[in-house]
């Protein structure tokens, strides 16, 4: 029986990759363990090994092909004794009950229930939704008049992934200021566990791109100590889950020292890394700490969604004389957005952005929560509800004014986040609106959040634990009494 070789996922969040090279050709005999091909993502290059014995009957995806979706059949192996020609012509179609066990879908489900998962999101405007990485870059240089941009109208835009934007921000700041350095696990020789620091070692050397042992508590303290002397460390946590080991230094040593020293001793440091759920990595690797850090005076907390904001805000964070928690999202790393081509593009910390204008309901979110918010806005528009979507971008200091301004217009508000409901970012927004927009509210503010459970592993349960577009749509309709 012929077996399809499927495009494998190299990581829980990989959606597609490049088939770099075939190491076997059609007609070759293969046995278990033989390297069939090399595939590449923006993060890594890996080898595809054969699992079964047989003859490589047909290559379905030529080498050099880019944007090959995970689980796409890339070759057919004919079993021993099988008619190779027949196998070659018969395979390559998704099987209802295929011999090759279908690996669990690695793509995080950000689609609305019932929406076609395979269709790439089509952006109404360039910054509306992330471009699918393989999609031709649709770049609109003209910003919609009502949406305030952080760059001059007419600025040339370059399609950039969040991953590249973060790297560019660090590299630009490191070129300008010798006091800036990157420290963390696998940031140098490995080029970053998520390839955010790719190329930095080559450009800046080991003095300024520092690989540490696996020792979060220790290296966070070392970085804070270095920051006391005026150096400007960028501490990469492989994920913010591991920063739990170091949270004492983040809170007690970094956030409080300026105050405790009567203003003498600042701590110019950035703690960055992926935060929140990735895909199928279980409870200990999926925690969203947005609300935790946003609770602490002495910290600034940033959680960007687009690549442009990731770049502009990271540059601002590196220049900021205070400790900044920079919360990234693993699922957003590979997504591309237009980024203004400017020599020095900086987005100020502390300013929310009206990402989409609307008159009927305000949806407030940040980071990956924006993907639900924007898709929901699109779905709502089809039902005649115009949602205004606000990307907080910075969680502390929180730009309440922009939210209040919008709610004064719409009278209704829904918050969206992946974090837990109790004492969350949404809860904070609700509290502020009670004080600052009470008279303008026509309905109670609703929160769409991650569920109040540790993140489960099983694909179906994980999907249930995270918010989804349908929940946002439902909440928005509820506050509109529709």
């Amino acid at each position: 029986m012929a077996t399809d070789i499927l495009m494998p996922a190299l990581s829980p969040t990989m959606e597609e990759g490049k088939l770099a090279k075939w190491l076997k050709k059609e007609g070759d005999a293969v046995k278990s363990g033989d390297v069939l091909a090399e595939i590449e993502t923006d993060k890594a290059t890996m080898e595809v090994e054969a699992i079964d014995e047989g003859i490589l009957a047909k290559i379905l995806v030529e080498e050099g092909a880019e944007g090959v979706k995970v689980n796409t059949p890339i070759a057919i192996i004919a079993a021993e004794g099988e008619d190779v020609a027949a196998a070659a012509s018969g395979g390559g179609k998704p099987k209802a009950n295929g011999a090759a066990a279908e690996p669990p879908a690695p793509t995080p489900d950000m689609q609305a229930e019932g929406q076609a998962a395979q269709s790439a999101p089509t952006a109404k405007t360039a910054d509306d939704t992330p471009n699918a990485p393989a999609a031709p870059a649709v770049i609109t240089t003209k910003a919609r008049a009502e949406v305030m941009e952080d760059y001059p109208a007419g600025t040339e835009m370059v399609t950039t992934s969040v991953r590249e934007a973060l790297r560019d921000a660090m590299a630009e700041e490191m070129r300008k200021d010798d006091d800036v350095f990157v420290i963390g696990e696998e940031v140098a020789e490995y080029q970053g566990a998520y390839k955010i620091t790719q190329g930095l070692l080559q450009e800046f050397g080991a003095r300024r791109v520092v690989d540490t042992p696996i020792t979060e508590h220790g290296f966070a303290g070392i970085a804070v100590g270095a920051a006391y002397t005026g150096l400007k460390p960028i501490v990469e946590f492989m994920t913010f889950n591991f920063a739990m080991q170091a949270i004492d230094h983040i809170i007690n040593s970094a956030a409080k020292t300026l105050y405790m020293s009567g203003g003498q001793l600042g701590c110019p440091i950035v703690f960055r890394g992926p935060n929140g759920a990735a895909a199928r990595v279980g409870a200990q690797h999926s925690h969203d700490y947005s609300a935790w850090y946003s609770n602490v005076p002495g910290l600034k907390v940033v959680a960007p969604y687009t690549a442009a904001d990731a770049k502009g805000l990271l540059k601002a964070a590196i220049r900021d004389p205070n400790p900044v928690i920079f919360l990234e999202n693993e699922i957003l790393y590979g997504q591309t957005f237009p980024v203004p081509k400017l020599d020095d593009f900086v987005v100020p910390i502390g300013k929310a952005k009206v990402h989409r204008t609307g008159k009927d309901v305000t949806i407030v979110s940040f980071s990956i929560g924006m993907t639900y918010a924007l898709k929901a806005a699109q779905a709502l528009a089809e039902q005649g509800i115009e949602a205004e979507v606000i990307d907080l971008r910075t969680l502390r200091p929180m730009d309440t004014a922009t939210v209040v301004e919008s709610v004064k217009k719409t009278g209704r508000c829904v918050t969206v986040e992946e974090g837990f409901p109790q004492s969350g970012i949404g809860a904070e927004i609700v509290a502020r609106l009670m004080v600052d927009a009470f008279d303008y509210l026509d309905a109670p503010v609703l929160r769409v959040t991650g569920k109040d459970v540790p993140m489960p592993y099983a694909a179906n349960l994980e999907k249930l634990a995270l918010p989804n577009v349908a929940e946002v749509v439902e909440a928005a309709k509820a506050v509109c009494y529709r």
Binding site: I222, A223, G225, H249, S261
Partner: protein, 355 residues
């Protein structure tokens, strides 16, 4: 006395016996000598700490100092000997028993005492308190209340020195209690891996709060705590300012030369309780008085100044009076300086970002 305390005594005695039987601890045959001026300097500096701390204890008793207040009385020779071997620009960082370190760094006693009383003229403008004072000018980096945290931070000071190649050394102090924190070993590992200029000074005063070294530590020889990382260490008589300075000079030279960190276990003793509220029932009065009578770091210098250097007692009394005056002035200032303006509640939380 309850059983637990009795057990504490027994083990403390055992630890002491072990320490005293340790040949490494026996007075070295050729104890380093100080010149008269060096002894006079050490005497003055140590006495300032002693009198300052006594005054702080007094003000605490009067309710003028609040919260936690950890006195350095008995341990003065450690920080003074270390400072005598360091040079300007070297950094100092320590835990919560920090008043002595600040004075040794040359910080103004008035500013330190006013911080203890929570007044606007304090080093942290009244917002830090006993455990949280800093001076960029004097290269004193705190004053840290989380036991062991200063060890990673101090290693970071050394990291910055190496990064800048400025030839400075970070003096990172910790107690015998902090020496059992995990991050200490994370720091040791990286300091040696990267050859950072850090001298780790473990002030072993025998008690981590109420827990004796023997009850808390599987390896009671703290100088060996860096062995698995290849960090050299030595045990030092921390009651004798001369042996402290000599060992400090060795350690600092090692660190400054780029060979990496060095560990000094300073065997010392605190006369007072862990903090002001500690009745110190975990040790006997005899143990304390024996140490005070036979090993007091200040008395040893005083005796030497009179007997070996021929300094007239009147001269030392003049020094005593001068020190008392400085301390009284600091107390006077700290009790009359106003509290911070209420508006200070909202300042120093964040620095303005530069445009």
């Amino acid at each position: 006395m309850d059983a637990a305390n009795e057990a504490g005594h027994a083990t403390a005695e055992a630890a002491k016996a072990m320490r005293e039987s340790d040949p490494g601890h026996a007075p070295a045959p050729n104890t380093p000598q100080f010149t008269k001026d060096e002894d006079l300097h050490a005497y003055h500096e140590m006495l300032l700490i002693r009198r300052f701390e006594e005054k702080a204890g007094q003000l605490y008793g009067m309710g003028l100092i609040g919260g936690f207040c950890h006195l350095y009385i008995g341990q003065e020779a450690v920080v003074i000997g270390m400072q005598m071997a360091s040079v300007e620009g070297d950094q100092v960082i320590t835990g919560y028993r920090d008043h002595g370190h600040m004075l040794a760094c040359g910080m103004d006693p008035k500013g330190v005492m006013a911080e203890l009383t929570g007044r606007r003229g304090g080093y942290s403008r009244g917002k830090g308190g006993s455990m949280h004072m800093f001076s960029r000018e004097k290269q004193f980096f705190g004053g840290h209340g989380i036991v062991g945290a200063q060890v990673s931070l101090g290693t970071g000071l050394g990291f910055a020195d190496a990064y800048r190649k400025n030839g400075q050394v970070s003096m990172t102090y910790m107690g015998d209690g902090a020496a059992n924190q995990g991050q200490v070993y994370e720091s040791f590992n990286m300091a040696q891996l990267w050859k950072l200029p850090v001298v780790y000074v473990i002030e072993n005063n025998r008690y981590a709060m109420g827990t004796s070294v023997a009850r808390a530590s599987a390896q009671t020889d703290f100088s060996k705590r860096g062995i698995s990382f290849g960090i050299p260490g030595e045990q030092v008589d921390g009651m004798d300012v001369r042996t402290v300075r000599e060992a400090a000079a060795r350690a600092i030279a090692h660190a400054r030369s780029g060979e990496g960190p060095y560990i000094l276990e300073m065997q010392t003793y605190r006369y007072r309780g862990h903090s002001m509220s500690d009745p110190a029932k975990y040790r006997s009065k005899d143990e304390v008085s024996k140490m005070r009578d036979e090993h007091d770091p200040i008395e040893m210098v005083r005796k030497r100044l009179i007997e070996a250097h021929g300094v007239p007692e009147a001269e030392l009394k003049a020094t005593d009076a001068k020190v008392r005056e400085v301390v009284n002035e600091s107390a006077e200032f700290a009790t009359h300086d106003p509290e911070p303006d209420p508006s200070e509640l909202w300042t120093d939380i964040l620095l303005e970002a530069r445009a």
